[in-house]
């Protein structure tokens, strides 16, 4: 039970009650080959029928969606970096980092742990999904997420986030973003394989002299037990707007679990009763 809330977890889906589940599914986003085209943002919206997120120029490089949110489940960050130089010096001192962020599908997902209605649940692929037919918009998950991923949509009040295209996975398809990605910056597959691939890519980059390359989310001993979506970054996580040391917010609060569990029980009972009532 302790492992279910913190630290490494051998089989996330089994821990969530699935018998003989498929391999844990994940994303590996290799930002070193990202070209910032935002195909992931659009493919995600088309598949999941997400509404637009407003039409305002942010002035933050080419990023006009700003952050992950209820209506932006893939978000490409653009980070412009320049070393000081003289006019006329054309030496390549400019870097333009791009990275497609997404829900981390944590091993220990605070959003799920605090959800009192059972709307958030762990799928057989070990991913974390909101069931929109259950969500009541309480927003506990919103403040619980250590990455600021999940959010409520203003108009319908419910919480929304990346489902890793749960409906597609069930039919053996890959998530829309990974499929569209022109340069394979977003890769989808069994998490174990992706972790190995990420290590290999990291080694290649280090050999090529890209010393600043690092992985993010691959450490099972980190504050969320490792993530289902890992990243290869070319700078500190903070440069991309990612928390350097995320911790599942429910780590030290077993009491909170009991409370939430009780609430979930009560609500689930209520839902069941409503089914019975309709028979």
């Amino acid at each position: 039970m302790e492992n279910s809330l913190y630290g490494p977890l051998a089989n996330v889906a089994e821990d969530a009650g699935y018998t003989d589940p498929p391999a844990r599914a994940g994303f590996f986003t290799d930002t070193s080959v990202c070209i910032g085209c935002k195909a992931c943002e659009v493919a995600c919206k088309e598949w999941n029928a997400i509404p637009d997120d407003g039409f305002a120029l942010t002035g933050m490089s080419y990023d006009n969606t700003g952050a992950l949110g209820a209506s932006t489940w893939r978000h490409v960050a653009f980070i412009e970096q320049t070393a000081p130089r003289e006019v006329g010096d054309s030496a390549g001192s400019t870097r333009w980092l791009m990275a497609s962020d997404v829900c981390k599908h944590c091993t220990h997902a605070a959003c799920l742990d605090v959800c009192p209605t059972g709307a958030l649940f762990r799928t057989e692929f070990s991913t974390v999904v909101v069931q929109q037919d259950i969500c009541n918009g309480c927003a506990y998950c919103v403040s619980a997420c250590p990455y600021g991923v999940i959010d409520r949509r203003e108009d319908d009040g419910r919480a929304w986030k990346c489902t890793m295209c749960y409906d597609r996975l069930g039919d053996g398809m890959e998530p829309a973003c990974a499929k569209a990605c022109p340069t394979d910056s977003i890769q989808y597959g069994p998490l174990d394989e992706l972790r190995a691939r990420a290590q290999e890519r990291l080694g290649d980059l280090h050999r090529e002299g890209v010393a600043e390359a690092r992985l993010y989310g691959e450490d099972e001993n980190d504050g969320v037990g490792g993530t289902g979506a890992l990243f290869l970054l070319l700078d500190e996580p903070e440069a991309y707007g990612l928390p350097p040391d995320p911790v599942v917010t429910t780590r030290d609060l077993p009491a909170m679990w009991k409370w939430a569990g009780g609430a979930a029980l009560a609500l689930a009972g209520g839902v069941a009763a409503s089914f019975l009532g309709r028979r």
Binding site: M1, G17, E41, V42, Q131, R168, G170, A180, A272
Partner: protein, 187 residues
Amino acid sequence: MARVGIESWPVLRQLTGTDRLGRGEAARSKRTDALVARTEQADRVVSSVCPYCAVGCGQKVYVKDEKVIQIEGDPESPISRGRLCPKGSASKQLVTSPGRQTTVLYRRPYGTEWEPLALDDAMDMIADRVIEARRQGWEDTSGGKPVRRTMGIASLGGATLDNEENYLIKKFWSALGAIQIENQARI
């Protein structure tokens, strides 16, 4: 509505099943259990090509009840290997957007608003105007040399059209004697 047995109660599933914390198997809703990719429900899947740039990425078009329900990359294309850029990924919206204008509009000379017009009437009116403008701009000779052409009609466009369409455009306008036939390739 399907019968819901008592064994499907989440509470019961949580208490009796393997998902003691109620965060996985036990929490699944009926809707979740019924979820399938909508592409699985398509009446037909049609091979297409992205209409934006000239890379020529392969697309699969999923149609259900005579509506496009999804357009995504064709993994079999040796050009694109199933991938699409943001524009290609927005192809479904290009086709299904409610903002798309699907009826004929007419603006009379010096008019201040659009007016509706039947397609058939529009085609007749355009045919009449082509014939008239062709004659108005007709030149048998230019600078003493035979040209047998009309300068009364011009056309621009074709780079987003099919080859077959461009062929009919060039063929028919040339037969009419129109020479100012151009497209984006000049721009």
